[in-house]
């Protein structure tokens, strides 16, 4: 047999080198365990000349009689889209055509317990599949309630479900990771109302991790991260993490991976449907960004900017975006009150807070007037090297109040030399109502940012860098100043407004309200709506 020539060998290796570290898939919520919301593999979707042609190419609607809302985001692997609905069904869809490939379980047997709880999306056991999935070894995994009467009487205790990518057959269902053993709102432990709901599983090394939380604070549950063996679904021996010694500190988001550790954020601990806790739980890992050892669950550091005294329920809902920047590895996230934080991932020390209000260490002192309440900054940011694109309160948060940043996207320079240069650009996202929940979590590819809106639009924005510095205009980083002179004298920055490359309405207008991220895979964009559809768009 003739050996391949050196030239062919070299070419093959170079081609491998160019593609090996960039997967065109979107195999997890926020793309990977780093939860960066970035697609490195550049396509037409990262070409500002092509993006204006973005249009809907197909729409998927669940089979008749199933309905439901898509609160989770799609993942995309091997030209297949995987997503579950609040009706308790999980679907595999052909990424090229929108055709249904398989569903789990079969029609008429949804993953749904009997425990309705508070109703709406805040059910204890009837939330279906709100969790975005994750992919590993030809398997997709997600969290959902188990209706089996042998499992906590079928009330809706939560498990992780691992299915074969090819045909949707069950590989394993995990040990119970979220217990529901009663259905009375306000009842505290030993009655448990634990849910997986919004937490997307993380696959890291030999385990799958997921967070647990409550339903509508009725009452708050002791937040946990649970770990199961990825080969069997059995709980991982020796791993244990819970946020308190009583209740609170729910883990609402998908944990992120950072070397041999996990990073996540936690909810409130002080008051709930059962009243207010006194004394403060000990430990109290609520309202925090937390880093734990992935083998044992031991806490490596905890950052709690809002102390217990000021806990008016600013749950930390957005998960952690791990940024690999020119100034080091940062763990970034926005708390529900609108403040964004960047911590050194290794030590947990605060690199910066935005807006920079709390002073050294980025922690608010107990007491005084404050606005740390149950508000709606709940979307994680997208990382584009040193740039963090995120829905945050902005400079006006301190004087305009919690609504100051709703409907806006900020791009923040994570490695800015000083606070004056923190804001890179700022935009009022078109076709977003400007109320809470009005935009989804942004995603980015090659400097093109994609964001979904509550009015059912998909909007593409161009970082000015990829347009040779061109912008749609300029404005003050504090939106209450309208001239360059006043803006700069007052101590703020005059920043670009990024150009809108595309603004695509989906069918169904506001009923198509989007809550989550646009997944970017193989040059296609995939979005899911509360109205119960999945759309594929491409230029």
């Amino acid at each position: 047999m003739r050996r391949p020539s050196i030239t062919i060998l070299a070419a093959a290796l170079l081609a491998f080198g160019l593609t090996a570290c960039e997967s065109p898939n979107w195999p997890a919520y926020r793309h990977s365990g780093l939860r960066q919301g970035e697609q490195d593999h550049e396509t037409h979707l990262s070409d500002p000349a092509k993006v204006p042609a973005l249009a809907v190419r197909w729409t998927f609607t669940p089979p008749s009689g199933e309905g439901g809302s898509f609160y989770g985001s799609p993942i995309v692997v091997h030209h297949r889209v995987f997503i579950g609905s609040t009706s308790g069904y999980f679907y595999a869809i052909d990424a090229k055509t929108g055709g249904l490939i398989w569903q789990f379980p079969p029609h008429g047997h949804p993953l749904m317990g009997t425990c309705a709880g508070g109703g709406g999306t805040q059910t204890f056991g009837q939330y279906g599949v709100m969790s975005s999935a994750a992919y590993f070894d030809d398997t997709v995994v997600f969290g959902a309630p188990d209706s089996d009467p042998a499992t906590d009487s079928g009330l809706g205790s939560g498990r992780l479900w691992a299915l074969k990518e090819s045909d949707g057959s069950l590989v394993w269902k995990s040990d119970v990771v979220a217990h529901v053993n009663g259905c009375t709102p306000g009842n505290v432990a030993p009655e448990l109302h634990e849910r997986i709901a919004y937490s997307a599983p993380l696959v890291s090394e030999d385990a799958v991790y997921v967070g647990t939380h409550d339903a509508g604070d009725d009452p708050i549950q002791n937040g946990k991260v649970m770990a199961v063996d990825r080969a069997t679904g059995h709980l991982l021996p020796g791993f244990s993490y819970s946020s308190t010694n009583s209740r609170g500190g729910g883990v609402w988001n998908g944990p992120a991976a950072e070397h041999d550790s996990l990073l996540f954020t936690t909810g409130n601990t002080r008051c709930d449907g059962a009243g207010c806790q006194s004394p403060e739980p000990s430990p109290n890992r609520g309202l925090s960004m937390v880093k734990i050892d992935r083998k044992t669950g031991a806490v490596q550091w905890q950052f709690q900017p809002v102390p217990y005294d000021l806990d008016d329920d600013p749950d930390w809902s957005a998960g952690v975006t791990v940024m690999e920047t020119s100034c080091g590895r940062l763990a970034t996230s926005v708390q529900k009150d609108g403040w964004t934080y960047a911590l050194e991932a290794g030590s947990g020390s605060c690199s910066w807070q935005f807006p920079p209000t709390a002073g050294p260490g980025c922690k608010f002192a107990p007491g005084g007037a404050h606005i740390h309440g149950d508000t709606d900054y709940k979307r994680p940011g997208a990382a584009w090297e040193d740039v963090l694109v995120i829905n945050t309160g902005g400079e006006a948060l301190v004087h305009d109040g919690v609504g100051a940043g709703y409907g806006r996207l900020h791009a923040l320079n994570a490695c800015a030399p000083d606070e004056l240069h923190r804001v890179r650009w700022l935009v009022d996202v078109p076709h977003a109502s400007g109320s809470g929940y009005s935009i989804g979590a942004p995603t980015v590819t090659g400097g093109v940012v994609y964001v979904t809106t509550d009015q059912g639009h998909v909007v593409a924005l161009a970082d000015p860098l990829i347009l040779g510095g061109a912008a749609a205009g300029y404005r003050c980083s504090n939106v209450d100043f309208t001239t360059l002179a006043a803006c700069t004298v007052a101590g703020y920055a005059w920043v670009p407004i990024p150009k809108v490359l595309a603004d695509v309405p989906l069918d169904g207008s506001s009923a198509a309200g989007l809550r989550n991220e646009a997944a970017i895979a193989h040059g296609r964009l995939f979005v899911s709506t509360v109205g119960g559809h999945v759309y594929m768009l491409s230029p």
């Binding site: 050196i6 491998f16 400079e395 009022d428 205009g473 404005r475 101590g491 670009p496």
Partner: protein, 157 residues
């Protein structure tokens, strides 16, 4: 097998393949950090924004201060209540107009002090500062960022 005994093309092949494989592995493990840097400043003609604010800071206070009125109403006992926000630029100073009544200064963000009648109070978010009626209050920003305060002014009719 000694390297010298190999066919020359195989020697070349190994010499090429090993560094190429190494470079691929290193490239995958060490994502290049260009960072994207800061954006260039705005063009000289871009000095005002098309975006308006429902509550702009439209009242200049000297060279480095700006104010806006958030609320003006008549409270109990026929007392006028005015709530204003003031922003003072980094290391700047702003003289507040005489309120005609007691004044409470609540720090929202930044670092600074308020001075009147030879008395200076450091501003704190936990302990609002109060000044008597008729005091000519000067706000001084001692930080590198903006000083943002909320003023509560009470004036008897």
């Amino acid at each position: 097998m000694a390297l010298s005994r190999l066919h020359p093309s195989l020697v070349w092949g190994r010499c090429l393949a090993v560094p190429l494989l190494l470079s691929v592995v290193l490239a995958c493990n060490q994502k290049t950090q260009e960072g994207h840097g800061l954006l260039p400043p705005a063009p000289a003609d871009q000095t005002s924004s098309a975006n308006s604010s429902p509550v702009p800071f439209d009242q200049p206070l000297g060279n480095t201060g700006f104010a806006r009125t958030v609320l003006h109403t008549t409270g109990p006992a026929n007392i006028d209540v005015t709530v204003r926000d003031v922003i003072v630029g980094p290391h700047g100073e702003a003289q507040l107009p005489d309120s005609g009544g007691p004044l409470i200064v609540d720090l929202l963000s930044g670092k600074g002090s308020g001075a009147a009648g030879g008395k200076t109070l450091d501003l704190s978010s936990q302990h609002p500062a109060s000044f008597p009626a008729g005091a000519a209050v000067a706000l001084k920003n001692s930080g590198d960022g903006p000083l943002v305060v909320r003023l509560y002014m009470l004036e008897g009719k």
